[in-house]
Symmetry: C2
Subunit: 136 residues, 2 copies
């Protein structure tokens, strides 16, 4: 196991973290993710941590770094599937993930990111996509 696969759903990249991240894999993930954001012009990153039962400060900082790098590359990061115990640990460690948005599950995270895309398109005033956004 060298690298965590990065999946793509439309303009969103999805990373499912399934085991404790060691230094090398975390670094590889950061690099891969930055490269994929640029390569695919993704505007959102979803990080699913529902498999993680515990997190330490290293993982907390890793999430923060990934979010910051993504933001610089114009992609929003949403962390999904955080367990209650993990949330408590993160706050106790002083890592309240200030710049990171969270959603309860993948579905809501996707809705959060794609909802924003729709809004951004409306603001951009493209008038050829009326089919997709259904004005009522």
């Amino acid at each position: 196991m060298d690298r965590i696969p990065i999946l793509r759903i439309g303009d969103i990249l999805l990373v499912s973290v399934q085991f404790d991240l060691q230094d090398r894999i975390a670094t590889a993930l950061q690099e891969d993710l930055a490269a994929r954001i640029v390569e695919t012009s993704a505007n959102g990153v979803l990080i699913d941590i529902s498999a993680l039962e515990i997190v330490d400060s290293f993982v907390g900082r890793m999430i923060n770094t990934v979010a910051s790098v993504s933001r610089v590359l114009d992609a929003e990061t949403v962390v999904v599937g955080m367990r209650p115990a993990v949330a408590i640990t993160l706050v106790e460690l002083g890592l309240s993930l200030p710049g990171v948005r969270t959603a309860l599950d993948l579905d809501r995270g996707l809705a959060m990111l794609t909802g924003e895309q729709v809004k951004a398109e409306e603001i951009a005033g493209t008038d050829d996509d009326t089919g997709g956004t259904a004005a009522g």
Copy 2:
């Protein structure tokens, strides 16, 4: 690492296989997946194996079993992200996955499954869903 997390995207369940499956984890995955299909009324299962560089007959049979169980529970299985070398190995092992559909990546797999849903709804003749598809 006890279990592989099962993610949900709308009516589709997503499993990202990131490492070689041993007996215990594969069995747990089959059970979890069957339970989740029933629990969420999912009608599609996407199995991403883009992280697998090699597969053996055990993994091949596991994929077949998952697909068969899903079919019995009225959910279609699509395997996505298969590497060329894995495809060759599977066929050489005599496992051409007859009942399993495949797609090049997650995006296409999702389109395959959700496209079918749309078709099924059209056939069912529900006429109250015009709101979602932008009436002018």
